[in-house]
Symmetry: C2
Subunit: 100 residues, 2 copies
């Protein structure tokens, strides 16, 4: 499982990247945080696509995307205060939905 | 190591929570994402403080805070596209700075 978060200043670029992440089967758990199960090979491909966005003219110098692996044994220790993401079972990988 | 991210609508409440996280020794790695090493006992105390904020009148129904543990062996696999957080070595826990 991976957590991917971004700080992208430009609305249009941010929208495009959020759509890309959703297309790769990740789930939006917060406004700028996505989570989901994704294979290592798929992650490499996703990473390449994200690198292309980094060369986009709308990419600001302070923009960033973080890709954080979450250990399988640690998923149960994730805590949420407030609204727990919808479809949490799916996000955790009970169902591995890679829709691309 | 933990990653803590939030979606907090109210500016003032968000500011107070960000200050709380920084006071607990976490580092801001993105606008709404914090990371750092924090012991299990300290995390329990921090969680209690965050729970109090959830009962604040400025807390919106859609607000959320996620607390995600990151396995020590996975830290080296964290990837950043764009701006890598300042003081990354410190964040990773080379120096465990709990300043409260």
């Amino acid at each position: 499982m991976y957590l991917i978060s971004y700080d992208i200043e430009n609305d249009r670029l941010r929208g495009r990247i959020s759509k890309l992440l959703l297309r790769w089967g990740l789930h939006r758990v917060q406004y700028s945080v996505f989570m989901g199960t994704i294979g290592k090979e798929s992650l490499l491909k996703l990473r390449k696509e994200l690198d292309i966005y980094q060369r986009n003219r709308d990419w600001a110098p302070s923009d960033s995307i973080l890709i954080v692996p979450i250990h399988q044994s640690h998923i149960k220790n994730i805590q949420a205060i407030g609204e727990w993401p919808n479809r949490w079972e799916e996000i955790k990988g009970a169902v591995n939905t890679l829709m691309i």
